[in-house]
Structures are given as C-alpha cells and as structure tokens.
C-alpha cells in the first residue's frame, strides 16, 4: 500500500466500550466524581469496531486497492461499520458513477453486512444524503448509536456518532448539535465531518471558522474523538482541550507534503 493509499484509508480503528458508567474519554469540563473505567479490548466481544475512510470517491485504481485491503482486513478484524468523511463521490454521480465510485469497490464489505455511514464534503452533491447505502436518512447531519454486539444491538451507554455537514454550518445545524450532545448519555461521543478543525496540511490546513463554532460544543459536552478528511494526509491527534486533539503528525504522504488539492 503506497502513501497515497494510506492517506485515503485514513485509519481503521477500534473503540473499547465501557460496560459501566463512565466519564467521556477526554473528560468533560464540568466537574464530575472520578469514575473507574473497565475497558473491553479490541477484538473481544463487546467492543465497537469500525473503519474510517475519507476523500475516496474517484473510482480510481487506488480506491479499489484500498477497498480490497479493507475487505482483507475485515476478514481478520470484523468491523461492523464504516464512517465516511466526505468527498465520497467526486464529480459525476450518475447511477453508473455511484456504482463505480462506491457500490462496486465496497461490494465485498457490503455483502458481508458492513454498514456505511456518510458525511458530506465539498465535492459531494448534497442529495447523496438520500442515497440509501450511505445511511444518512435523507439528512445533512444526523446521529446514530453503536454499542455492544454491533450497530444493530443498541443498548444504554455505548458510542454515539454525530455526522455533520461542515460545508454549511448554519444555525439550525448548530442548535441541533447542541441539543443532541447535551441530551446524549452515551459513554463515548464521536463526531465526524469533512473539514478538519486542526490540520497541518499544506493544501487546506485548519478550518478555523468551523473550529470557532464546533470546538466549544465538543469541549462543553465531552466529545471523545473527532474524525475529518479534506487534507489528504494521515495525521493523528493528541487529545486535549477536554478531549479535542491537536495535530501530532505521524505519517504523511509524499514525503511530508500534502496530496493534491481537492
């Protein structure tokens, strides 16, 4: 797998669920009594396993190779679902192109019952929110829960995901996010969207306007982790500000330079 491919398959990650009452990973800003956390290790029963991809939808050879790697990885580490960070379908989105850029490369995963959950990027037609296999329920922003035993077996606690549309962060979306975050009792809250709040990428860099409106909510309500795309680099984030990370570059494509602008 080359660097460009690595940049597209951003990360495959596990989350360990907490069977008992817990605090958010990063710790909320509100004072809470210390709690004990019992972690379920990845690969064990009860862990929530998912993959993350972003900026993938070109129908290119690289996309197909990454999809193949994902399918192979799924055999060894059966993740239940995939979150998509936007720019899921570049350019034309006719039925034939949707097949070429999504349904065909991920067919083995789709056939294996893996569920895809998309967020929108600047290259996506917003109407892709109606595309059934993206599981967006016709909404630009939405939330869903995953818990022990996979996405279909939702119980108390668990992990709640928030898919946002950072192309158009209007007031209704921000009000919706605050309402959902404030009412969520999930142990883990994970946000995903296209534009990175922090990025060392030379092509785009940090989306400061989005950071100004989103980060305070993430900190206030103890969001555990954030995933974003847009810059075609792989960058891991050190948790801080109550769980929100700051970039700590680990792997970059093309010897430290960003991939071409998208």
């Amino acid at each position: 797998m080359n660097h460009a491919m690595i940049s597209r398959l951003l990360v495959v990650l596990w989350l360990a669920l907490c069977p008992g009452p817990t605090a958010p990973l990063g710790g909320a800003t509100t004072a809470r009594a210390p709690v004990t956390r019992t972690l379920t290790l990845p690969g064990k029963d009860g862990s929530v396993r998912f993959a993350v991809i972003g900026d993938t939808g070109r129908g290119s050879r690289e996309q197909y190779e990454v999809a193949k790697q994902m399918a192979a990885f799924h055999d060894a580490f059966p993740f239940d679902f995939v979150i998509m960070l936007g720019d899921n379908i570049y350019g034309s989105d006719t039925p034939a192109e949707m097949a070429n850029k999504f349904a065909t490369p991920y067919k083995p995963l789709l056939d294996a019952g893996v569920v895809f959950r998309a967020s929108l990027g600047n290259h996506d037609n917003p109407n892709q929110r109606f595309y059934q296999p993206f599981n967006m329920g016709g909404e630009r922003y939405y939330t869903f829960r995953a818990s022990k035993g996979g996405i279909a077996k939702v119980t108390e606690g668990g992990v709640r995901f928030f898919a946002l549309d950072t192309d158009y962060l209007d007031k209704p979306q921000l009000e919706w996010l605050e309402k959902e975050l404030s009412s969520s009792s999930s142990d883990w809250k994970v946000a995903f969207f296209h534009h990175p709040l922090y990025s060392s990428g030379k092509t785009h860099g940090s989306a400061l306007e989005s950071r100004a409106v989103l980060e305070p909510l993430f900190v206030k309500y103890g969001v555990s982790a954030v995933f974003s795309g847009h810059d075609h680099i792989y960058e891991r984030i050190k948790p801080q500000k109550g769980g929100i990370g700051y970039p700590a570059p680990v792997v970059r494509c093309a010897k430290g330079t960003s991939a071409p602008r998208t």
Partner: protein
C-alpha cells in the same frame, strides 16, 4: 564538613532536580498543544471573536428590516412552492441512486416549470442587494477574515484552482458534478436565515440561492462578495 559520599551524591541530586524541570520545560509546548502553532492560535482567537460577533448580530436597523421584508416574502413564497411540489411528487423517502437522481430532476423540472418567468433579481431585489453586499463584506474584509475567504474559495468553481469555472442560470439546475463552495459560519450567521429548502452558495464572487433538494438555482446576486484573493 561535607564527606566524600555526599559530594558524590551532589550530581545525582542535581539530576533529580534539573530533570523534572527540564522535562516540564520541554513538555510545555506539547501540553499546551495550540502553543505549537502560535500564529494559527492567534488567528483562531481572532476568528472566534469574529464568529461570536456574527452570531450575535441581529438585523435591527429599520432600513435593514424594511429591505429584508421583501426578500423574506419572496423566500417564503419559494419555500411554499418547493413544499407543494415535493408533496405532490412524494419524494421524501430515502432512495437509492437511481431514484435520487430521478427525483432531483423531477422536482427541478416541476419547480422550474412553475417559475418559467423567473428572472435574475426576483428574490435578490435591487433594494436588498446593497444590504447583502455590505453584510458579506463585513465578514470577508479585514485581518480576521482570511479564514472565511479561504473557506469560500475552497470548492468554489472558478476560485479554487482545481475547480473549473461553471456558469449558472436562474431556474436552471446547478451543474452536475461541480463542487459546492463552503459557506463559512460567520457569513451564514450574518445573512438572513433561510428555510431548509434553500441554501446560500458562492459561485465565484456571486451569491446564489440554490434549492437544497432540486439543486435548482433560484436566484443570483452578482458580485456579492468582495475580492476573495488570499494573500
């Protein structure tokens, strides 16, 4: 009097004292996080203030309210039309790609047919245009507006170096496959709110109103944004 052993312990003691201090010193930039990029943090603080101000902005001046009244009436009329056509076509359920594309086109054709006489400036009427240009300029001019300009340029056909220019027309569909400009929160908070059926977007410096389902260009305000160059 100091014995030999205590003299020998002195460097060790110094290590114990200096080590943690040095470690702390080295760790501070990491612990501080954003301190790693002081320039970005300064800019982020400016942007946060600017966005906060935009969030609190209300169109209170009489001249603004008066100018916006006509705009809001036109927008409400369009939203009614959108809802009626949507209900008539029954397009609310999520669909697969074939149905999505067909539904988008079906709705666009139905609305376009009902607005066959729509012309540029029907919604962005001449009396409201200076207000829109001023509101947008407030967010895109000045030292603290670089992030907003950068956001608008990204994915903006004709502005983003990797996006080919497109031509849009009132009552025609937004070109298939073309990217959409990001509209930064400060601009969205400043402009008059829209119903869910309509979105603001930029094409070059023009502000367009686009139907969020039909992807139909509903109106265009030419040269709405100031120079978007990023220097």
């Amino acid at each position: 009097m100091e014995d030999h052993a205590s003299r020998a312990r002195r460097p060790l003691l110094a290590c114990f004292l200096i080590g943690p201090v040095a470690a702390l010193f080295l760790a501070v930039p990491v612990l501080a996080g954003p301190g790693q990029k002081p320039e970005e943090e300064k800019e982020a603080a400016k942007v946060a203030k600017k966005v906060e101000k935009a969030l609190g902005r209300a169109h209170q001046a009489e001249e603004e309210r008066e100018a916006l009244r006509g705009f809001q009436e036109e927008v409400a009329d369009y939203a009614d039309l959108h809802e009626k056509k949507l209900a008539k076509l029954g397009l609310r359920a999520p669909a697969d790609s074939l149905e999505t594309v067909a539904a988008q086109k079906e709705l666009a054709h139905a609305i376009a047919a009902s607005r066959a006489k729509a012309r540029l400036g029907d919604i962005f009427r001449p009396e409201v245009q200076p207000l829109f240009r001023r509101l947008i300029a407030e967010q895109l001019k000045g030292q603290d507006s670089l992030a907003a300009r950068k956001a608008i340029v990204e994915g903006n056909p004709g502005q983003d170096e990797d996006s080919a220019p497109i031509v849009v027309h009132v009552n025609a569909e937004y070109p298939s496959g073309a990217p959409r400009s990001t509209v930064p929160p400060s601009v969205l908070m400043t402009l008059p709110p829209l119903p869910a059926s309509l979105h603001y977007r930029f094409v070059g410096r023009d502000l367009i109103l686009v139907d969020s389902v039909a992807q139909l260009v509903v109106d265009i305000l030419p040269a709405a944004a100031p120079d978007l160059a990023i220097r």
